[in-house]
């Protein structure tokens, strides 16, 4: 699991790549929170285009990032979600709670 952060003008772009399972998510969750705390963004974009596999561990990452952004009074969007991860989000009903495009 790799995480790449790009911050401009209080917009934070986090590009995730690799397998977002329990094994990969542990560090990714911590890194995501660290990146948010460092950038204090108004808007967070989670780019999932490099995620080759995701299970419920990815849901925890998304929900925790969203909670942190809500606490900062900011917004979050998840984008470029590959098919398999999209179906996991749909099965879990996450698309109703989080902006996915």
């Amino acid at each position: 699991m790799e995480l790449n952060a790009k911050s401009t003008d209080r917009n934070l772009l986090l590009e995730l790549s690799g397998e977002l399972d329990h094994h990969g998510a542990r560090d990714a969750i911590a890194e995501t929170e660290r990146a948010i705390d460092a950038a204090l963004p108004r808007r967070l974009m989670l780019d999932f285009s490099g995620v080759t596999f995701m299970d419920s561990s990815g849901i925890a990452l998304i929900l925790r990032a969203q909670k942190r952004m809500q606490n900062l009074g900011g917004s979050m969007v998840v984008c470029h979600v590959p098919q398999q991860a999209k179906r996991v989000l749909e099965a879990a009903g996450i698309c109703r709670l989080v902006a996915v495009r």
Partner: protein, 149 residues
């Protein structure tokens, strides 16, 4: 209800998180002989990942234990996967299967069983506290090759 199988495998590994990917890949490689579609393979990998992760995270919370994955190809192009542990067990299986129910805190979302149910055709969970848990899943694969010899 024990169904006849034409092929089967058993895999046993330690409850280390690095084995999550290993178990998914092993099951996917076994299922490949059933000529699944890409979507079906992804569904199977996702469901296996959920069941194996549960054994690793919940069955043996502060210890290492053994996890077994048993796969069978049954009549009618049905794949049956059983994931077993000898961990702490689930006190109330019906409650555990409810969406959002979790004992895992912030790291977990409580959606694992819901995902297994939606990606497979059939899910049976048996558990005894202090003895372990068995999760059996079945999925009928469409079989792209309709031509039979």
């Amino acid at each position: 209800m024990k169904r006849k199988s034409s092929n089967e495998f058993t895999l046993e590994f330690l409850s280390r998180s690095a084995n999550e990917g290993f178990a998914r890949m092993a099951v996917a490689c076994f299922a490949a002989q059933m000529d699944p579609t890409l979507n079906e393979l992804e569904d199977i990998k996702t469901a296996v990942s959920e069941a194996v992760t549960n054994a690793i995270v919940h069955a043996y919370p502060n210890a290492l234990g053994k996890v077994t994955v048993h796969g069978r190809i049954c009549e009618g192009n049905v794949l049956e996967i059983t994931v077993k542990d000898r961990g702490r067990g689930i006190p109330d299986v019906n409650q555990a299967r409810q969406p959002m129910f979790t004992t895992g805190g912030e790291e977990r979302s409580g959606m694992g069983f819901t995902i297994m149910e939606s990606f497979m055709d059939h899910l049976v969970v048996k558990s005894v506290v202090g003895r372990g848990t068995s999760v059996q899943m079945r999925k009928k694969l469409s079989s792209r090759l309709k031509v039979q010899k």
